[in-house]
Symmetry: C2
Subunit: 248 residues, 2 copies
DNA sequence: GTGTATTTGTTCGTATGTATT
DNA sequence: TAATACATACGAACAAATACA
């Protein structure tokens, strides 16, 4: 056995076995894998060989090790398609997750320079601001803040509170459709507040998306920022710029 | 003075003043602001009040503080348009930065499962792998790893080393054009190696982009992963799917 | 490498004004 | 009016990271 020529290295075989174990659900997301010692006993190899396999899996984002704690199966990142027509709930439903939304706070206040610029308003004009949390299977996936021109949509906040959906609320305010005109993405660290809401540790990486949604007449209707939990969401850029009207 | 009714808090006025100073170029990107002590003397307020202003500016990404060192004007994040036709150098030139590229290592080896799947190969088929660093004005912006099918492009690595451009190298290998078929984005923490190359601190947020480029016949020609320094790059999603042929 | 000064980060405490209950 | 909560502003001291001789 050990002397026979082998095509694949032992560590790769181990990594593949563990990967299959995870795929089969033997170890679920968030579960702790057996210790390196237990695994090296199970596979009859040196601990370093197991470590090599685990390192490979960690680099591929399949597991992540915490010194002193163990090796844990990574949360399966939720695929989140992003494009000109992005509707959160529809996406999640498609990926078989139970979507949810929690409105954290709403207010109407004067706009700052950035918000006014993005929405094409004079600075100081009133805006509706709505902070919330997007959930998938009960787990927080993203924080969002949406800023709307208050003058154009006087009743929007009530609609959002009632409808529990931005798309529906905008439609009730006369915006039949909207598309994403621009999106800017950066990786940031979670600040304490974000970490609390997203149930991350402070400093954990988050993906910040800043976007402007416009109505068919190309007028900005929403200036939105979304902070995605880095290890729980993967944004996928789709080509479907001409995509169908998947409206929730 | 102090008793007069004031509409805006002191800390906001200070933040605005400093923001204007930065906008006017009094403090340029990367410059160190005066110390909190100096600023509190300049504005005649308590250090906490200055800190409040600086904290606000930091939250808006305008400055960032380093304990023991000072508060520095943020490098204007390099806008990095991402879409079906993304050419790194052309983008940087457009934004007025001197682009650069450094090839860190190249090798030809057997593909793993993921690479083979992405490139449409049988697992184990040989691939060229090229690791490198993308620079803007001499500063590292991103790490990249490109994986190519070796059988189809036997001379590609030599071309890359000679041409110093993936686009040119692929063209020399008979690929007149290619477009981005899929992109997946996540926020991760920089591991020690990445932090070293990108001159970040370990654990700093990075934006990982995994993409597949295909030729006009829709055959995958490159499976690429790019790790962007989170605070130095902003990905912008553009609508220009029909964009012109900006080829380097 | 060591020690020291500098600079930001954090945590106490104090006081005031304003808005809400 | 009283009680409460919250944001603003100031003061002092210490901790932690950095820069530099």
């Amino acid at each position: 056995m050990t002397s026979a020529q082998r095509k694949t290295p032992v560590w790769q075989a181990i990594a593949q076995t563990l990967t299959e174990d995870i795929a089969k659900g033997r170890y679920g997301p968030g579960d702790k894998l057996p210790t390196e010692a237990e695994l090296s006993a199970r596979f009859g190899v040196n601990r370093h060989t197991v470590r090599h396999a685990l390192k490979d899996m960690a680099e591929n984002g399949l597991v992540h090790a915490r010194r002193g704690a163990g090796v844990f199966v990574a949360q399966t990142p939720t695929d989140y398609p992003i494009g000109r027509r992005v509707r959160f709930h529809a996406n999640l439903r498609k990926s078989g997750r139970l979507p949810g939304k929690e409105i954290l706070s709403c207010e109407t206040r004067a706009s700052d320079a950035r918000e006014a610029d993005a929405l094409g308003l004079e600075q100081g004009k009133a805006v509706h601001v709505c902070n919330g949390l997007s959930l998938g299977d009960g787990q927080p996936l993203a924080l969002f803040r949406s800023v709307f021109p208050a003058e154009r949509f006087p009743t929007l906040l009530d609609e959002i509170r009632a409808q529990h959906s931005v798309t529906a609320a905008l439609r009730a305010c006369g915006v039949a459709d909207y598309t994403r005109a621009s999106t800017r993405l950066t990786a940031k660290r979670a600040d304490p507040t974000q970490a609390l809401h997203l149930r991350l540790r402070e400093g954990d990486p988050i993906l910040r998306s800043v976007g402007i949604n416009v109505d068919p007449q190309n007028h900005p209707v929403e200036y939105g920022t979304t902070w995605f939990a880095g290890d729980r969401v993967t944004l996928t850029l789709t080509d479907d710029v001409t995509g169908g009207s998947e409206v929730l």
